[in-house]
Symmetry: none
DNA sequence: CATGAATGAGTCTTCATTCAT
DNA sequence: GATGAATGAAGACTCATTCAT
């Protein structure tokens, strides 16, 4: 009974913490980290300001927790794809498709996440930033390994450095997705991952 | 004489304004927009705080002016390349090379610029943002036109939508350059633009 | 049986209340009243925060109770000495000795007590302060009476107003003790009460 | 002219700073350091809150500056007396009289000062506290030297350790003055310094 | 009856902006 | 026209206290 009670409490607390994170995600994504006050988050999440500080030591902490949670989610989904034992081409196709789905289903999160990843959020993310870069690097290396294996198995022509291919694939996927966000009609990416892969797979010049 | 005097005044004033912008660029890039105070800019630029407000209506205004000036510089250089009448392949190669040079020679500006362009500095840039996106879109369209013409002239195989190729080229250039910033040894891009073009030009699969 | 049970409860409750006071004394003395939170006291005393508010209406109340308890203890010990029927000189000597022992054995309490008595802890002690001053005054009057009686019995020369002597003795004892706290080597007071009495008893000038 | 202007500015600023210190002294003395907000000081001194932070880096800084200023004033006046070349007895008499005048003319300051000196103001005064104790110790040593010299010159009987006499004199003066503050009628000290000296000078027992 | 999660008033502090000199 | 002292709104965070469980 004790356990049950404490467990319910625990679950309840986690749920509330998540509520705060959800609200914070939306606000940070809409208005930017410095333009959102703790009071605003508290009000929107329907908690007293003091309660926020039960969940997170300070504003920065809340932000870091949010970013790391998003990173966990994205990195987890991507890693799952990459580590499957599908054939190389299939893996790449799935990678692009899953990435597209992540974008479509987590728009606010994506905006915030890339603001953090690309545009240096200064002083806010010491520590977290390193971890995120490490994960991104690890994804790139995994992609490079896929290309490498594909080359070894004569599935791909060994034309370019595999790591460069990884970098190219990743950046193209991002760019197509950002473009799709701005102009969903003009860019059918998330529906059709092959658009991106075609660019990589078929050479432009001859034969 | 009046004109001459006022003109000298005018020039003087513009020079001072530019001094402020230069200082602001460095500070914003180093510490991030919200972490730089108007006092800090004034002190670093050796102006009285009040004088800053003669040049710019407020902090946001100064920021927008800075971003637009950077955009002018980059957009100008890129446009020049694109609108030359060199052969298509040469144009693309020059585009990639010039972009690389812009990165190498304007690191602070680039960091700030991309923080703004990608990681949306929210609410800060209403208005300016639209103009910048328009310019970016225009560059993409020009690139697409180059691909299109190249296809018409049978220089390129008509495999992918030209606009998608433009998007791909642009994003790959950015990604390689960012990667080069983080790890200058591991990525020879700005020295050798062909790395990027190769990915696009030679197909991976196929004879 | 009811009485017995309720009495046990009562005793238990008093013991717990005392536990809280003991913890509070240590914390207040170590860190100062405003730097100790009710949560800290509760945690240290191993009670729920709500339970504290069963014992004391609020933080100020707890503080007042603590100060009054210390006052009771000190005042009680001092009064006992003063009201004994020893000879005057012996009484004064015992007074000084007992005061020294109180200091030595209740350092934390003494620090807190004097912070309150001398350096007025403003607004915190309305009401309590009056009572404490009354007690202090009463001790001074008793000491004065001892001097007075000593004079009547020709044990002391009637040179100075007895109340002034009381004031002098009390303040000297305090000063020597505070000095001893700061520099236990340089001041042998608590070991040797006569140091203080000598100053009072033997004149510097003459006969 | 430049110099004149800047000097006037300088003087003006110092006067304003002093205004703030005066207001702060009164408020801190009346209500205690933690019970006075920066807003309250600002309002009372008729400055905007931001202006306070031009004069003092933070609340603690303002407090330290205040305490040190008081210390300077008191310590200066006392030192002047002690270092004069009057006869020993005269010096001691002047010391007691000047101390009395300081109390009478600086009641608020005295309350605050002793709150700081005696009742440990925790964490607020790191650094400043050491300096103040040093000064107090130096005064005691000077007084002890006066007693010592008086003994050498056979003005005083060598009955007690001179430093102990210094401690005694200082503490008695404080005690009489505090008593006078509480009950100005019952204690004529500041009018008649000899009351205190008599206790020290004429032995109670003897001749 | 004990508990401790939740509350929110109140604190210190920063900094964009103004305006008298 | 330049200056920089003065302003005060707004934000992060603490902690005494309450009350539903």
């Amino acid at each position: 009974m004790e356990t049950c009670k404490s467990s319910r409490r625990e679950r309840e607390k986690l749920r509330q913490r998540q509520d705060v994170l959800d609200v914070a995600l939306q606000l940070f994504s809409d208005k930017g980290y410095p333009n959102v006050s703790m009071h605003e988050i508290a009000k929107e999440a329907e908690f007293a300001i003091g309660t926020l500080y039960k969940f997170f030591r300070n504003k920065e902490d809340l932000y870091k927790a949010l970013i790391m949670q998003l990173s966990d989610r994205f990195y987890g989904a991507i890693t799952e794809v990459i580590e499957s034992d599908a054939p190389e081409i299939e893996k790449l196709r799935t990678y692009v498709r899953v990435k597209g789905e992540l974008f479509r289903n987590n728009l606010a999160a994506i905006r915030l996440y890339f603001e953090e990843t690309r545009g240096a959020r200064f002083r806010v993310l010491a520590g977290t930033e390193r971890e995120i870069r490490k994960r991104h690097q690890s994804v790139l290396l995994s992609l490079a390994a896929i290309f490498e294996r594909g080359m070894n198995r004569k599935r791909f022509r060994r034309i370019v450095d595999p790591f460069h291919l990884a970098l190219a694939l990743d950046s193209m996927a991002n760019a197509f997705l950002f473009h799709w966000i701005e102009d969903p009609q003009g860019n059918p990416y998330p529906e059709n991952p092959d658009i991106i892969l075609n660019i990589l797979f078929k050479g432009l010049i001859g034969p």
